[in-house]
Structures are given as structure tokens and as C-alpha cells.
């Protein structure tokens, strides 16, 4: 019973791997998940800025973006796949 978190770009170095599982009970919302992931000052600083998400940070749940209003309150459930990456561009 877990939420799967996938890391991209430099988040793989920050979190020491490509993905991890977080028990669903500890990740009821995106905010709770980020609290759990941000277990060192450095990791926390890569995810959060004050009470909100860090600018240029992109989080998608099962391929869909977070809602613009109160994104940290977005509910998560068992089996969800959360992707965390910095904004990238290309062409």
C-alpha cells in the first residue's frame, strides 16, 4: 500500500535514486508527501519555499498536473504515481 514517487533530472541525486515508495498512510496529500520526502534541510529546500511549492518545480500525479488552487492539499491514494522534476525545456 504505497504511493510511488519518480524523480527526474537532478532530483535523482538529491533523493538518491530514480524512484521510491512512500506508505499511503504517510502521503495522504501532496503536502504530507513532500514533508515526508524533505527529511533534510537540503531536500526540503529543493521542494518547498515557505508554505508553498518551490518555483520551477513540477509535480504531476499519474501524468496530470496539480490543480492551481491549494496544490499541497491535493489528495493522494494508494497506487498513485507522483513524478517530481524541475521545469525543462527543449527544441
Amino acid at each position: 500500500m504505497a504511493v510511488t514517487v519518480k524523480f527526474f533530472a537532478y532530483f535523482r541525486e538529491v533523493f538518491g535514486g530514480r524512484e521510491c515508495g512512500v506508505p499511503a498512510a504517510e502521503a495522504a496529500t501532496v503536502g504530507a508527501l513532500l514533508d515526508r520526502l524533505g527529511d533534510t534541510p537540503q531536500r526540503r529546500a529543493e521542494l518547498l519555499a515557505g508554505a508553498g511549492l518551490k518555483p520551477h518545480l513540477v509535480i504531476m500525479i499519474n501524468g496530470a498536473p496539480l490543480p492551481p488552487d491549494r496544490p499541497l492539499e491535493t489528495a493522494l491514494k494508494d497506487g498513485d504515481v507522483v513524478a517530481i522534476f524541475p521545469l525543462l525545456g527543449g527544441g
Binding site: 492551481p68 513524478a83 527544441g91
Partner: protein, 620 residues
């Protein structure tokens, strides 16, 4: 005609290759005020010089390259040039941009724009330096690839005075409809077949050299914009570190997460993550990358200088692959082999063909082959299947030389699919191959492809994969029919501004118009407020459209291939496609946002509002 002392030299070179005549014409300051430089200025000069009905590969086509008032300053990334011509692939405006150092050096020769007309009897190259414009025989260069030609024309000079060269390779000489013009060695004017237009004119290369300096009107004002720009470039993760670390291929896994990465000629967007990992930006950085580098004046540094070690002990070096190349020559062809993609990329760079259109054309040929739709084409040696990684490099070489199957691939996917009776299997808009973002995964991107002036291009059509794409307070929902027309207009306009300034798209990840406005106004002493810049963006968009209408394009050409309206893909658990009705609604609303009529034609009233004058020398 007024003097033009600040930011530009007030000089246009016009060369008629038919007689080999070169002359220097004054650049009207009013044109700079109305069209800025780069894409805007080149489009206006092109529009005034060309018959929209001309044969793109005939002597009446015209090529214009223009610099901007910022080129010659220290403004970040401001070394880019813009080229405009009538495209032999699409029949509409060909408009292409390139980094490297040529744009900066051309300006340093003391000129603002270059207009090339006519056709030489035999191969020529053009040599430009302060006080010198010569059209010279190029028999010794004809047949050489882009790297060899560049070496031949630019080596043997003292450090600091080394010239820069644009040139075509065999792809352009052999009129491959998506041939590029190479800039330095591995930067290209890539899309729309400008290289074939050069080839049709027997123009092999243009070398430039010089140390002329522009005058800056208000250094303090310029500096205020420059400082702001540099500070912001160093704050945003994408410009501060990610491009240098991962290159554009850092997008591969990300675009897969959002179900937008095409597979097997855009039949679906389904991949095994482990297959994509073998060719991601992260993997490239850990395996084949030798060095990241930037174009002139670029602090971002997305270039990938790479090395491939062969099983036979051989080593090849080159540049790439970029995201578009990875995906279109890779998964879109059912190929997940980084070495095969990279070596084919090297050949495309050397021989001078566009990796996007080449990849899209090969993918189309593979689908035609798998469906048993190749008849007589098989006799030409074209019989491909998805996943044929071992064939890729040879196909690139054969295409550039129009040998065997390459002769069919050289025509692009639309003409190939059409001759097989299945034009619907060409993944193109206006016969230009789609970049590596499936339009079913974003209505905004879909509309960008539909309405791009040059056909399906993410750089001219608008790039929807921005921060607003991924949520947050400024999110533009990617399936919003209501918001997409305004959103894509704004994205297209941002591109017009960047192309007209001669700066890189990636600066847009750090800041918008304001720092550019300050720098431009400081350099020129002219009013380039953000409001004025928006006027210029709208003016250029409608002038490009006007040319396309006069060249014969209609609203029916602003449409996606049927696949995207008929066959859904799964995005975030839901089936998505861009129905005919959705396309019709977005097209109608987009025309309205632009101020065009219901058929997508700029109205006379709009042209007057935007102060778009009739073609020079012709009454309206």
C-alpha cells in the same frame, strides 16, 4: 531616409546571383522601428522582394538573412541569425533560425541584412568583409560536406580574426527538400529546406569577417536590462544548470510522463520506460557526452559534444543528439538505440539534412512498409520496418545523395505517402514534419502546429510545454478549447520577438519582454517599449500570413493529419484526440484573436491598423 547610427549600420547587401552583381542599399530606419530585425526585418525584406507564386527552387525565389539591433552587443545569446525564403517542402514561407557565431560576425562586417536573388550558372560562394563583397567560383567546394567546407573557408586565419561560414552540404546540392544551411559546423538553419533553395541557386557558402562595432545610444539603460536578464538566467534552474547538465534530451523521460512522446509514426505514445532511459538526457550525460558548450554569448550551454565508440574500435565525434532528433529518429521509428541515432545524427549534420523531417519521413516510410503499401517504391530499395536501427545511418547518407531509397526519402513524408496513395499517413502540417510532441496530448500544441506560418514547427508555431503547462497558478489547461487560441497566440508572439531580437528561445524560461525592451531601447534610442514590441509581434505574424495567403495557402491547410482526429491516445488515464470539430473551433477563435477573417486572411482594416504597407513598388 534618416541616418541609423545606433544599434545598426543602415546597410543591406543585395546580391543577384544571375549576374553576380552585389550592391549595398540603405536600410530605412522606419523598417527597424516597425519590424525590429532578424525574423521581422527579414520577413519584410523578403515580402517586398519575392513573387509569392514563384517556384521555390527557381531563380525567382529570394533568400533573406537579417541581424537585429542587439547583435553586436553583449546581450545574452544575441548572436543568432534568421533566414526567410519560400520553402520547397511546404510552398509557404520558410522561416528558420540558427545559433552559432555567424550572425554576430555578419553584423561585425558592417551590415544588417543580406538579400540573395537569382541563380548562378555554376557553383559560387560569397565572401563578405568590411568594404568587400565578392561572388567567387565554388567548384572546389561543391560536393564537400559541411564540416570540410567550413574548414576550407575558415582555417588559416589568426586567432581573433577567424571568419565564420554558412554553407550547404550534399543535401542542399542535391535539392533534398528538407536540406539545411549549416552554420559553423553543427548549428543549422534546420527547417523548411533552406539548403535546397541555396542548392537551386548554386550557392555553396557565405563567409563573413569583420570587427565593425555598433554604437550604443544609452549604455546605462542597456546595462539595466542586461543585468536584469543575466540575474534571471542565473536563477531559473532550466537556464542556470539543467540545459548544461542534460541538454534538450533531458525532456525525453519527462515528455513520456505526460504521454506526449510519439511512437511509430505517431501511432501511439506508449513506451517501456527502460527503453527510453537508454536514450535520455541523463544517460547521454553519463555515457557519450564529452563536453557541454554554448553558442556565442550564451551562458546556458545546451550543446552536446559527444563521442561514439564503435564495436570495431573506431571512434566518431560530433554534436547531438537533441531531444527532437532522439525521438524522431528513435522511438518514432521504433528505434531505441542511442548509438545508431547519434551516428545518423552526425551524418545529417555533416551532409546537411534536417533531423526532424528526416526522422519523420523515415517513420512514415516504415509505416508504409509495414502496411504493405510500398509498390514500385520497393524497387527503388525502400522497404523498411519499424525498429530498423542498423539502416538509419545509411538512409541518412543515401537521402543526402538521393541514392536508392534516399531519392524517395529526399522528397519528405508527404510526397512519399501521397505517391503510395496514403497522404494521410504523413504526419505533417503544410507538408512539414511534426516535431516530437504528440498534438493529442495538448490542444494548445495542436493549434500551434495548425497555425504555424511554416507548417508543423514547435519554434514558429508556439511551444506549449512551458511552466504554464504543468499546473500552478498560471496554468493553461492543455485541453482547454477556450484558452488555447489566446495562449498559443501569445507563445507564437514570444517566438517572433526572440527570433527578431536574434536571441535564444531558452531565455524565455528565465524572463519575458521587459529586459529585452530595456536593452533594445538603450541600444537604439528608439521606442521599443513592451507595448511597441507587442505591436511588432502582431505585425510580423500577419505579414507572414499575408505571404502564405498570396502563395495559395487556405484555412484548409491549417489542419492536423486525420490520425490525430480519428485515433485517440491515452493521456493521464483518459482517451484524447483532436476532433475535426475541436480543430474547427480553435481555428475560428484563433483567426478572431489574430484579427483575420473567417478564412484566415488578414483584413484590409487589420493591415492598416498594423501599418503593414503594401509590397514595395506595388500599389495595393
Amino acid at each position: 531616409m534618416s541616418a541609423a547610427p545606433f544599434g545598426f549600420f543602415g546597410k543591406i547587401i543585395e546580391i543577384d546571383l544571375t549576374g553576380g552583381d552585389a550592391r549595398v542599399l540603405p536600410l530605412d530606419t522606419a523598417l527597424v522601428a516597425d519590424y525590429l530585425g532578424g525574423r521581422g526585418l527579414a520577413t519584410r525584406l523578403f515580402y517586398d522582394a519575392v513573387d509569392p507564386q514563384c517556384d521555390p527552387l527557381g531563380p525567382d525565389n529570394v533568400v533573406v538573412i537579417a541581424a537585429s539591433p542587439l547583435i553586436g552587443t553583449t546581450a545574452p545569446t544575441s548572436a543568432r541569425g534568421h533566414m526567410v525564403f519560400k520553402s520547397p517542402l511546404t510552398g509557404v514561407i520558410g522561416t528558420s533560425n540558427s545559433g552559432g557565431g555567424w550572425g554576430h560576425t555578419f553584423k561585425s562586417a558592417g551590415y544588417d541584412a543580406l538579400v540573395i536573388k537569382g541563380k548562378a550558372d555554376s557553383p559560387v560562394w560569397i565572401d563578405i568583409a568590411p568594404g568587400k563583397i565578392e561572388v567567387l567560383p565554388a567548384h572546389h567546394l561543391w560536393g564537400q560536406d559541411i564540416h570540410a567546407t567550413n574548414d576550407e573557408l575558415t582555417s588559416g586565419f589568426e586567432a581573433g580574426s577567424r571568419p565564420r561560414a554558412l554553407c550547404i552540404g550534399p543535401g542542399g546540392e542535391n535539392l533534398v527538400l528538407y536540406a539545411v544551411v549549416g552554420n559553423d559546423k553543427n548549428r543549422v538553419y534546420g527547417r523548411c529546406g533552406g539548403g535546397a533553395v541555396w542548392g537551386s541557386k548554386n550557392l555553396k557558402a557565405i563567409r563573413v569577417q569583420g570587427k565593425e562595432k555598433i554604437q550604443i545610444h544609452d549604455k546605462e539603460r542597456y546595462q539595466s536590462g542586461y543585468d536584469q536578464a543575466l540575474y534571471l538566467l542565473r536563477q531559473a534552474p532550466v537556464t542556470k544548470r539543467l540545459m548544461r547538465e542534460l541538454g534538450t534530451a533531458g525532456l525525453v523521460e519527462l515528455i513520456n510522463v505526460i504521454n506526449m512522446l510519439p511512437h511509430r509514426n505517431f501511432q501511439d505514445c506508449t513506451h517501456r520506460p527502460e527503453d527510453l532511459e537508454r536514450m535520455s538526457g541523463e544517460t547521454i550525460a553519463k555515457t557519450i557526452l564529452e563536453k557541454a558548450a554554448g553558442c556565442y554569448l550564451c551562458p546556458i550551454g545546451c550543446q552536446r559534444h559527444t563521442r561514439i565508440d564503435g564495436d570495431d574500435g573506431s571512434t566518431q565525434r560530433g554534436e547531438g543528439p537533441e531531444y527532437e532528433t532522439v525521438v524522431l529518429m528513435g522511438p518514432d521509428c521504433g528505434i531505441y538505440d542511442l548509438a545508431a541515432i547519434t551516428t545518423a545524427n552526425y551524418r545529417c549534420n555533416e551532409l546537411g539534412i534536417d533531423t526532424i523531417s528526416f526522422g519523420g519521413t523515415v517513420a512514415c516510410a516504415m509505416e508504409l512498409g509495414e502496411r504493405g503499401l510500398l509498390g514500385a517504391e520497393k524497387e527503388g530499395g525502400l522497404d523498411l520496418r519499424f525498429g530498423a536501427a542498423a539502416e538509419l545511418e545509411k538512409l541518412a547518407v543515401d537521402t543526402a545523395h538521393r541514392r536508392g531509397a534516399g531519392a524517395l526519402l529526399a522528397e519528405g513524408s508527404y510526397r512519399l505517402a501521397e505517391r503510395c496513395g496514403r497522404a494521410d499517413l504523413s504526419m505533417t502540417v503544410k507538408k512539414l514534419e511534426l516535431p516530437a510532441y504528440d498534438p493529442r496530448a495538448s490542444f494548445t500544441q495542436a493549434l500551434g502546429y495548425m497555425t504555424s506560418p511554416s507548417g508543423a514547427c514547435h519554434l514558429r508555431g508556439g511551444y506549449a510545454v512551458s511552466l504554464a503547462f504543468f499546473g500552478g497558478t498560471k496554468e493553461i489547461p492543455r485541453f482547454s478549447l477556450l484558452q488555447s487560441p489566446i495562449a498559443i497566440r501569445n507563445m507564437q508572439n514570444t517566438g517572433i520577438l526572440q527570433d527578431s531580437l536574434g536571441v535564444c528561445r531558452f531565455t524565455g524560461y528565465a524572463f519575458g519582454s521587459d529586459p529585452w525592451s530595456r536593452m533594445l531601447t538603450g541600444v537604439t534610442g528608439m521606442d521599443f517599449s513592451v507595448f511597441r514590441l507587442e505591436e511588432i509581434e502582431n505585425r510580423v505574424a500577419s505579414l507572414e500570413r499575408l505571404f502564405n495567403v498570396e502563395a495559395g495557402a487556405t484555412a484548409a491547410d491549417d489542419a492536423l493529419p486525420p490520425r490525430f482526429a480519428e485515433t485517440p491516445i491515452v493521456v493521464a488515464g483518459e482517451e484524447k484526440m483532436v476532433s475535426e470539430q475541436a480543430q474547427e473551433r480553435m481555428r475560428r477563435d484563433y483567426y478572431s484573436v489574430r484579427g483575420w477573417d473567417s478564412e484566415g486572411r488578414p483584413t484590409r482594416a487589420l493591415l492598416e491598423d498594423l501599418a503593414i504597407a503594401p509590397r514595395a513598388g506595388r500599389a495595393s
